[in-house]
Each structure stands twice: as C-alpha cells, then as structure tokens.
C-alpha cells in the first residue's frame, strides 16, 4: 500500500491546472446544465429530471412526521449556497505537507491497512488506488466521474435510480441533480476482500454545498467492507455536505458500510442511505456521527431476499449546540429475514438528538426477526433527546421488539469507579466510553474501533 499522502502530491500535480472558473455555482438549473455538459445523454436527462423533482418538492417542514424534530428552513438556505466543484483544493496548498490541513494528514497517516484507498477533496475524487491483485480479479474502485465513461452501463442502471432515487425527498433530489463526483466500488462474484476499502473525504470550505455519491455493488458470494471518513475544520459559514449512499448486496454476499463523520462546526451533514440485501446476504451498516452542527441521516434497509440480514448500528456524541437527527427504517419484504438496529448516543451541553425508527414487516415477510433499540445518555441539564421507535407489522409469524430509553449516568456505576480511586471526570469518561463502546463491539472492523474510540476520547476531554 503506497502512502496516500504521497499519492495526493502526484495526483495534484497532474490536475494542478484546474483553475476555478469565476462563475458562481448556485444551486440552480444553470449549474445543472453546466455540469451536464459533455455527459452522456442518460446522465443529463437524469440530472434534469432530478432537478425538476427538487423544484417541485416543498422544503420539509416540522409538520411532517419525518422532519418533526429538525426545522430545515432554519438549518439551510438553498439560495445562499454555492456548489463545491471537484478538486477545489488540489492545486498548491494541499500538496505541500506543511500547509496541508493537520486533521487530514492525521487521518491519512492513521490507517494504512486497506485493500484500496480513495481521497475526496470537496466535490471531487483526487486520488484512488487499489491492490493490483484485486483489480485483476475485476474489482472496480474508481471515481464516479470516470465511471460515467468507463462503466456507463452499470451507472445508467443503478445510479440514483431505484436505490436512492430523487423522488425520495428534497435532499435526495438535490444530490441526484447536482452530484459532482463520488465513489464506485464494484466487487465481482465470489471475490473476497480481506481488508477494507477506505475513503477519506476532506471538505475545505471552498464551496458551501458539497454533493457526492457512493455506489457499492457486491455481486453474489462476494465479501467487502467500506469505511468512509468525513473531515473538515470549522467552517466560516453554513456548509451543506450532502451524500447519497447506495449499497447493493447480491445473493450470499457480505457487505459492511461504515461512515465516520467528524466535520467541523457549521456543517450541515446530510446523508441519505439505502441498502438492498438479497437472498442470504448480510449487509451491515455503522454510522458514527460526532461532528457538524446539524446532521441528518436517512437510512433505509430493505431485506429483499429470504435469509437476508442487516445489522444497523449507530453512535453519536453531541456537545455544545450540536443537533443530530437519525431517521431509520427497516423494510422486511421477503420472508425469513432479520434486522437488528442499535443506535446509542451521549449528549452533553445543549446538544440534542432525535431518533425516529420504523420497522415495517410487509404482508409476505413471514418469519421476520426484527429488533430496534435506541438508547440515550443525557450528560447535561440542557441536553435533550427525542425517540420514536415505531413498528408496523402486517405479517403474523414474526418476532419484533423495540426499546428506547433516555437516562443519565448510573450513580452506582460511578460510585464503584470512584471507590476504586478514579476521580469523577475519569469515571464519567469511562462510563460514557463503555456505553458507546458496545455499539462498536458489534462491528469490530480493524482500525475502526480504535479510530472511533480516539475520536470519542477527544470529545470527552472537553467534558
């Protein structure tokens, strides 16, 4: 595995000439047309269609159940945003180690063990590399921008069509119309990747709206895990970081998707994710939300083939005035499918979290096992947690349960630790770490546990 940091230098030299145009990239029809220039007609059509959906979809209001706890009109003003184009930071500053953002360098140096690596800066992929042996077996790891030409058939069939279509909502439509780049990961049948594919996304603040997508396709019997990290420093103005993540696990495949979000303040991190799990596949997700001012996740797991199973894990830790809104759903469509959701969060200062989850067992999905748990720890008097764990069951041979709780640090546990000589702060940190740690224990992916634990510890230092 070459050092990704060096790779950035190389790639930035090649692309160093992409000087920014002066035209402001407002979120409008003109920009849709501009980024469609030279694209295959299916793609331009798709973007135009998505834009029309975006324009005809009203801004979600708190009157709607799905947005009950987040008032979008106060979070983002679409007319005030400018689209971050690809490679806004590729020339000059980034390449030089000295002036490269420290957070990015640290993240890039942190984990080397990977089957492939990709680096996205703002709206564009600036670097990709993949173990040559895997490339020979037909694994594809590439930027969506080049995939449009190199794997056009695949994208035409799967990108923003049925997995995360623009019709899903305002943000999904926006992303489908204006995505500038992203990652395609394709794993052919029966190919197994021993180490994860890693992606680092650095947002520089050069544009105030970043729209990228991820498409992961695991063919039958394959095995792959994908770990993505979102990083930035604090922003000077409200910045929208929009992602659409589409994951397809064909029969018997095993897929893990992990997202670790540590954006700076004033970021509005919006992510729309959907997973399709076919017969006997296993498709697990872990979403770690630590950064940003506001973050909103829409995650829908579809269990489409008998024997399919999805674990859905989530972890969040809020401080100051951070706001997290997790909207999840588990759709059991085929019989004998399983899903198990566990979202846990700790909230300090004035931070607040909302969780709205729903298990839907469709009439044909007999033999469903579905679980859903949301647990919150309030660390401050001003923190707030809202939880709506819903069930809609239309089949009778099912085992479903859900649980939700909101509570404070267990006084007995703290007392025990204090009696062992720890001071209160140490004891509190330990309990919080343990509370959140059992989520990661469910998905012990190499490097991820350490990385997330370090990130939580960094936040805990301020507690």
């Amino acid at each position: 595995m070459p050092n990704p940091a060096q790779a950035v230098e190389a790639s930035s030299e090649e692309e160093g000439s992409s000087a920014e145009e002066e035209t402001p990239n407002c979120l409008d029809q003109d920009t849709v047309e501009r980024i469609s220039q030279g694209a295959p007609s299916w793609l331009s059509e798709r973007r135009r269609h998505a834009w029309s959906v975006f324009e005809s979809t009203p801004l979600p209001s708190t009157q709607s159940e799905e947005w009950r706890y987040t008032d979008v009109s106060r979070v983002v003003d679409f007319t005030d945003l400018q689209l971050a184009m690809d490679g806004a930071l590729t020339d000059g500053a980034l390449a030089e180690n000295g002036s490269r953002p420290a957070g990015l360098t640290a993240a890039m140096d942190e984990d080397r063990a990977a089957s492939g690596y990709t680096l996205l800066i703002d709206g564009g992929v600036v670097h990709v590399d993949l173990e040559p042996a895997l490339a020979e077996q037909g694994v594809i790891l590439t930027s969506l921008k080049s995939a449009v030409y190199e794997h056009g058939d695949l994208l035409e069939k799967l990108l923003a069509t049925e997995v995360v279509p623009p019709e899903d909502g305002k943000f999904q439509a926006l992303n489908a119309a204006l995505w500038t780049d992203g990652v395609l990961l394709y794993v052919p049948a029966n190919v197994e990747l021993d180490l994860p594919i890693r992606a680092t996304r650095w947002i520089s603040g050069a544009g105030s709206a970043v729209c990228t997508r991820t498409l992961i396709v695991a063919e039958r019997g394959s095995q792959v895990s994908y770990v993505e990290e979102l990083l930035s420093e604090d922003f000077q103005r409200r910045t929208l970081v929009s992602s659409a993540v589409e994951v397809i696990a064909q029969d018997g495949s095993q897929v893990q998707y992990v997202s670790i979000q540590q954006l700076g303040r004033d970021a509005f991190c919006q992510s729309a994710q959907r997973t399709f799990a076919y017969r006997d596949s296993r498709l697990d997700t872990l979403n770690v939300n630590l950064g940003g001012s506001v973050s909103r996740l829409d995650l829908n797991a579809r269990l489409l083939g008998p024997g399919a199973h999805s674990d859905m894990l989530g972890l969040y830790f809020g401080d100051e005035d951070q706001h997290f809104d997790h909207n999840t759903s588990q759709d059991h469509i085929a019989r004998d499918t399983g899903s198990d959701l566990l979202y846990k969060g700790a909230l300090d200062d004035r931070s607040r979290a909302a969780f709205r989850g729903i298990i839907r067992v469709h009439p044909a999905a007999q033999g469903t096992d579905a679980y859903q748990t949301n647990r919150n720890l309030l660390l401050s008097d001003e923190a707030r947690a809202d939880s709506l764990p819903n069930l809609e069951i239309e089949a009778d041979d099912v085992k479903c349960s859900h649980g939700a709780s909101v509570g404070q640090l267990d006084a007995e546990v703290l007392f025990y630790l204090l009696s062992r000589g720890l001071n209160l702060q140490q004891a509190e940190r330990l309990v919080v770490l343990g509370f959140l740690g059992d989520v990661m224990a469910r998905l012990p992916l190499g490097g991820v546990v350490e990385k997330v634990t370090r990130a939580i510890e960094r936040k805990l230092k301020h507690v």
Partner: protein, 471 residues
C-alpha cells in the same frame, strides 16, 4: 381452519348489543352543523350567555382546524358529517328514579344489564341516551357527604362557580379538532365533585347508549377530586349496528388536587359502525394518583389516548389499556404522560390483540420537561397477532428535556408460539383451550384490574374469540 368455521357457526362473533329501539325523541336538530344549530342546542339547555359564546368560539376553531392526517382513516366520516344529527333530545327531563324513565329507554338499559339491582354495587349511576343523560342518581350516603354526581348540564346550572372554575381548563377548546367540536356541541356527560378527604368505597358508573341512526354523541364529563379524596368511575358504551356510521366524540376532563386518587375505567364496546374519537385528560397535582384503565373492544375506528399531566411534585400517572381489533376495526389507542414537576412517576402498559383483518395501533407520548427532575416513566406495549392478515403498529414518542430523568420503552410483537401451544397440548389441553389460556395469560395483567363483572365479560369474550383462531 375447520375450528374457525365451526365457531363462526355458533355465532360467537355476533354483537349482542346491536338491537335497535324505535326512534322516539322530543327534539332533534337538523342533520349537519352550523352556528344556528349550536345556538339551538344552547337555547334548549337554557345556558348562560358565556357558555353560548364558548360554544360559538369553539365552532369557529373546529371549522378552521384541518382533519388529522395521522391515525385512522377519517375520510368516510368527513364525507358524512353533513348527514349526522348533532343533537337528539330523547325526553323532556332527566329522571332521578328508574320508574320515571320512559319505558323503551328503561328496557334498553335493562337489556344492557344496568338494572336497578346493579345499584347495590355502585355508589351512583348515570345513563345517557342519545344526547342527554336520561337518568342520574347518587346514593344518599354519598350525597350527604357533599359528593356531587350529576349530569353535566345540572352541574352547570346548580354549581356554576365550581363548574366555571374548572371547565375547559384541562382540555382547552383548541386542543384538537374534535375537542373543539365537542366544545361547540357538547351535550350530556357527568359532573362529579368529591370533597376533601372523602373516599367513595364503591364506583360511580355512567352508561352511554346511541340508538338513533347517523347520530353524533358528544358527551362532556368534568370530574373534580378535591384534596385527599378517592373515587373510581366506570363508563360503558354500546350502540346498535347500522349500515351507516355513527360518531361519538367525548371530552373528559379530570382535576386531581393534592393527594387525591382517582381511577377512570372505560369499557368501550360500540358497534362496528361507530367512529369513536375521544379526548381524555387528567391534571394531576402534588402526590395525587391518576389511573386510566382503558378497554377498547368495539367501534369501527377508535382514536383515544388517555393522558396524565403530572403538574405537582410526586404526582403519579398510570395508563393500562387493552385493545381488541377484529375484522373492519382499527383501534388507534395508547396514552400520554407529560412530566412537568419533579419526582413524578408514570407507567403505561398496553396490550393489543389483532384478529382477522383487524388493526391495532399503539400511539403514545412520554414527555419530560426540563425541571421535572427524577421523573421516571416506563412504557410497555405488547401486541399479539392472531391471523396472517392482522396488523399491528407501534408509534411511541419519547421526548426528554431533563437530564435527571429515566425513561424506558419496550414493545414486543408476536403470535402465539407453536412451541407454547405444543407444550400445553402435550399436557392434555385441546388446541382451543391452549390458545385461550395463552391469550388470557397475555391480557391478565390488565384484566385483573377490571371490575369483576367486566373482567368476567372480557375473559369470556376473549376466550370465545380466540378459540379456533389457530393458524
């Protein structure tokens, strides 16, 4: 499956309260609702001016609020609202003695099992027929201690100050569309006052009957429990089966002063053409305890969420509910607990059974405001599905603003397990007996809280309904 047919042949699913009396009323308004009708209702009741103004204001609010888009399907109801009779007066005056109640109405209540003999077990009985209470009585023993148990109209007439002090304070006019409707056209219901320190040893009972086709019943009940008092109030509801839909929308307000203890038991067994949209709320002051025991067996659609607003330190709220939804029924029920004061506690236990094409929904709210330190709440809901066409939903809302609070919610959905059945059958029970035993065990925690005669009836109903339902 053969058992299913066998049982249907026995007619167990028949609704035994579905008989119809001949229509006999002394006055009714034209179908539909407008300002004129509201004025007529108020005039017939010889109300003070402030109440007419209250009603008219409520009508405006009702008209301005949209139909709820959540919960059950209200489109059929909305389409027929113009054909519904909002006020039907069955007799000229309310009676204090059974013998004075008109024969046909008396017969109805006797057939429903509210005979005079039952008074032996009750402290007081009220009976509402269509829009008015036709009968109200309270045993002398309690009346002499200052207990008031009267129709809501007489409450307004005879105790104007006490009435006005509390009326619409727990459920304001604009609380929701149907509370506004009730506020505009309310008629009938009970007015209860239990003085300081008085404990009613036997329950008060109110019985609600709708006979008229396409009728809207809007009873309004106001209960005031003074400091340290204790009482238990039971309401039961039935109606004939018509091909057209009827509509029942009650508002029940309860004020519990400090240290009071009150239980409100509902056995709702409306016919399957009834829309039952009820707002029930209790304001629970310091160290008082409110218990809602809510049994929903009948109606086409019920949307009812008994609530406890725990506004005094140490207040306790409890909601136990059981819902049974069979073909063509949607029970959208649950409960709300709102913790405002410190050291308040609450618990919600909900059990639902869905059979055939029935759908039962739990919808609940647990809210802890900042400052309600040491609030504790626990919500448990369990759903049992009998057939593969049955449906159940759970929508709990948990909103916590206080760090020093502990709130938990658990729900399970299951069908009767083959292994459970197999075990009992291996012990010599028939499949039907085993099924009935499991279901009875499922509802037992709530059924045991019911007054004996209702518990027996519920058990019998469940037992019979469950038998032969296996796969």
């Amino acid at each position: 499956m053969p058992e299913n047919e066998l049982l249907e042949g026995l007619g167990l699913d028949e609704y035994q309260y579905g008989f119809v009396d001949e229509e006999a009323h002394v006055f009714r308004t034209r179908p539909g609702l407008n300002e004129d009708i509201v004025r007529q209702i108020s005039k017939h009741k010889e109300e003070p001016e402030w109440m007419l103004e209250f009603r008219l204001k409520a009508l405006k609010i009702y008209e301005s609020k949209p139909m709820p888009t959540w919960g059950g399907d209200l489109s059929d109801l909305e389409a027929t609202l113009d054909e519904i009779y909002f006020y039907v007066k069955p007799q000229d005056q309310m009676e204090r003695s059974w013998s004075d109640v008109p024969e046909n109405i008396k017969n109805t209540f006797q057939r429903l099992g509210i005979p005079e003999a039952e008074q032996k077990l009750l402290a007081g009985v009220g009976a509402q027929y269509e829009s008015e209470m036709v009968y109200h009585s309270l045993k002398e023993e309690w009346a002499s201690k200052g207990v008031i148990f009267d129709s809501i109209e007489d409450g307004l007439k005879n105790h104007p100050e006490l009435f006005r002090e509390h009326f619409a304070t727990v459920i304001p006019i604009a609380d929701n569309k149907f509370a506004a409707l009730n506020s505009a056209v309310w008629s009938g219901g009970s007015f209860v006052y239990v003085p300081k320190g008085v404990t009613l040893e036997t329950p008060l009972q109110a019985y609600f009957r709708v006979n008229q086709e396409r009728m809207g019943q809007f009873e309004r009940t106001l209960i005031i429990m003074d400091e340290g008092s204790q009482a238990h109030y039971i309401e039961g509801c039935t109606a004939p089966v018509y091909s057209t839909d009827s509509f029942h929308s009650g508002v029940i307000e309860i004020v519990l002063k400090r240290d009071a203890r009150f239980r409100y038991t509902t056995i709702q067994n409306w016919s399957n053409n009834m829309y039952n949209l009820v707002t029930q709320r209790a304001l629970v002051n310091q160290n008082a305890t409110m218990e809602w025991l809510d049994g929903n067996l009948g109606s086409k659609l019920t949307m009812k969420y008994p609530s406890c607003y725990l506004v005094g330190e140490g207040a306790h709220g409890e909601i136990m509910s059981i819902a049974y939804a069979s073909d063509g029924q949607h029970q959208d029920t649950g409960g709300k607990v709102v913790h405002v004061a410190p050291n308040t506690t609450s618990s919600i236990i909900s059990k639902s059974i869905s059979k055939g094409h029935g759908r039962s929904t739990y919808r609940g709210l647990c809210k802890v405001y900042e400052g309600a330190v040491n609030a504790r709440s626990n919500v448990e809901c369990d759903a049992l599905l009998i057939n593969d066409t049955s449906r159940t939903d759970t929508y709990p809302y948990i909103e916590i603003e206080e760090k020093q609070a502990s709130v938990g919610h658990e729900a399970t959905v299951s069908r009767v397990g083959d292994d459970q059945l197999f075990y009992l059958m291996s012990r010599g029970l028939t499949q039907e007996e085993a099924m009935a035993l499991i279901v009875r065990g499922f509802i037992e925690p709530i059924a045991k809280e019911l007054p004996l005669e209702y518990a027996v009836e519920l058990n019998r109903l469940i037992e019979l309904e469950m038998e032969g339902s296996v796969g």
